[in-house]
Structure formats: C-alpha cells, structure tokens
C-alpha cells in the first residue's frame, strides 16, 4: 500500500482516535503521542489493514488498548497526569450561562471508570451504534448499554446536584 493511499484511508478517523485517546488519557500531549503510536503500528501492519472489514473500528480498538496500557503503566509507576485543557467550542463560549456546567460535565467524565468513559465517548460523542461499540470493545451490546446508562446517570446526578444546591 502506498503512503498516500494509507493516509487517505486513515486520516478521516484521525480526530476520532485523538478524541478517544484524550478521553482516556486526559492529557493532550499523551493523547497525541498515543495516536502517533497507533498510526505507526497501523503503517507497519498495513498489509493486514486491507483485510479488516472496518479499518476505523480496528484503529479504535487499537487506540483503546494502547491507551489503557499506557494508563496501567502510569498507575504502576505512580505518575499522575497533569491536565488543564478543556476545549470548548464557540457555541459553548456564546452560551456563558451553560459554560460553567459544561466544564463540570467534562470534569465528571474524567472521574468515570475507564470503560464507562470509553463507551460514553464512542456513543454520545462519536455516535457509533451499540453493535459497532460492542465489536470495538470486544464486548456485547447489553454490557455496552449498561455501562453507558451508568455513565449517563453519574453525569445526571452531578448536574441535578449542581442545579438543586447551586454547587459548582
């Protein structure tokens, strides 16, 4: 496979991989390193990539596994990830009232268990079907649904608290 061909195949989901990596690793630099690493692996194994029905799903699975490994080795060496980058869209900036709450949503998402975070990212941000997510995570649809529901409910609890008691 030629380089241009490879790039044409993989570039459309570059940002999806980045967003997933960032959701898991939180740090922007870590996420970019992870995506670079995944692309190198894909490039090295480019002979196989054509055999996969869905290169995007394959790449997402790879990214997820790589990031979880990174996280594990980090926890093992007791390193804490420092992060301070919440990117908000123009839409958010316009909506000043909600901005506070939006930042809070992101913060809650970071506190979720990794599996829930990944499922929430793949479903609510990237809008994949349950069957696709189950395939990517090597899981089943029911498990994905349960994890997703838990994640959404955790976010809801936090928002209800904030609006009822005005904690923010």
């Amino acid at each position: 496979m030629e380089k241009t061909e490879f790039l044409a195949l993989t570039m459309p989901f570059k940002d999806k991989l980045y967003r997933l990596a960032k959701r898991i690793l939180v740090s922007k630099d870590e996420a970019e390193d992870a995506v670079q690493e995944v692309f190198l692996k894909l490039w090295k194994g480019k002979k196989n990539i054509e055999n996969y029905k869905n290169p995007e799903a394959f790449a997402i699975t790879m990214t997820k596994n790589y990031c979880l490994d990174r996280l594990k080795s980090k926890q093992a060496s007791n390193l804490k990830i420092v992060h301070s980058n919440y990117q908000t869209s123009e839409n958010v900036e316009k909506n000043i009232e909600a901005n506070d709450g939006v930042e809070m949503v992101f913060r809650i998402m970071e506190t979720l268990p990794e599996q829930q975070r990944i499922v929430l990212q793949l479903r609510d941000v990237e809008q994949f079907e349950f069957s696709e997510i189950a395939q990517m995570l090597d899981s089943n649809e029911t498990a994905v649904r349960v994890a997703l529901s838990r994640a959404r409910k955790t976010v809801r609890e936090a928002m209800i608290k904030k609006y009822n008691y005005g904690i923010g």
Binding site: K14, D15, Y18, R19, V102
Partner: protein, 145 residues
C-alpha cells in the same frame, strides 16, 4: 419541540434505550432551541457532548519512509543468477573451436600418435624377448665358470 416529548426521550436516554437519531434530536434541542426551565439542568450535558466532538488534533502525524525490502532481495537473487550464468557461460565458450585445417592437423596428430604407440609396443615385445637372451647368458656363465 414540546418539553414533554423531550422529557420522555431523556428518560429513555439515561436508561441507554435511545437510538442514534433520538439522541441527535436531544442534542439538537439542547444546543439550538430555547430550553424549558424544568430541563435546564440537562443542557450542559448535551452542550458538552457536542463540544467534545468539535475537538481536533493540530498535530501532524508522520510516517517513516519504509523502503520495500523485498524488492532488494529480489535484486540479490537476480544478481546471483547472472554471476552463475556468466561463469558457466564463459566456461562453455572458452572451449576452443577448431577450423577445418586445425581439425585435419589434429586427426593427423592422432594417427601418428597411434602409429608411435604401435611402434613402442613392438619395441616392448622385442625387449621382452631379449630377457631370454639375458637368461641364456647367466646359465652359460654358471656352466663355464
């Protein structure tokens, strides 16, 4: 859209029971429409989810140039075959080829060689016979001592 419908969708949403299109409706409502007062606490969730999708990496990913190794190996084998073929070929073609005159000369040489051989064989026969003469000499010496 009426808030009753949205509320129903929200219930299903938190149970993980909404479809992609229903979730898009929710996101659309909370991002673009006037949100009802009793639903305002849910707005940040959908604003955040939409914002999360806007995020892009500015990084340029680079791939190493991989020289195809296989074609190089292919060239090695071609080179090896050429060397062997050249060796064998030069061995074959270095064999002298004779002109008509040289062939005749060779044939004559072979003939004269055979003649010489014949001659030498007969000489050998002669020397064999001469041993008898030697024997005769020795016996004669014994008798006439």
């Amino acid at each position: 859209m009426e808030s009753v419908k949205i509320k129903q969708l929200l219930e299903a949403y938190f149970e993980g029971a909404t479809s992609i299109s229903e979730e898009k409706m929710l996101q659309d409502y909370f991002n673009n429409e006037k949100v009802a007062d009793n639903l305002v606490q849910y707005q940040p969730i959908f604003v955040a989810l939409k914002a999360a999708k806007e995020e892009r990496s500015t990084m340029v990913f680079n791939l190493p140039e991989t020289k195809p190794q296989t074609s190089k190996k292919w060239w090695y084998s071609v080179a090896a075959i050429l060397v062997v073929a050249f060796g064998v070929g030069s061995f074959y073609f270095s064999q002298p080829s004779y002109t008509q005159e040289e062939k005749e000369a060779l044939a004559t040489f072979e003939k004269s060689k055979r003649a010489m051989m014949l001659l030498s064989e007969n000489f050998n026969k002669g020397t064999e016979r001469l041993t008898f003469v030697g024997q005769f000499e020795r016996t004669k010496d014994k008798i006439f001592e």
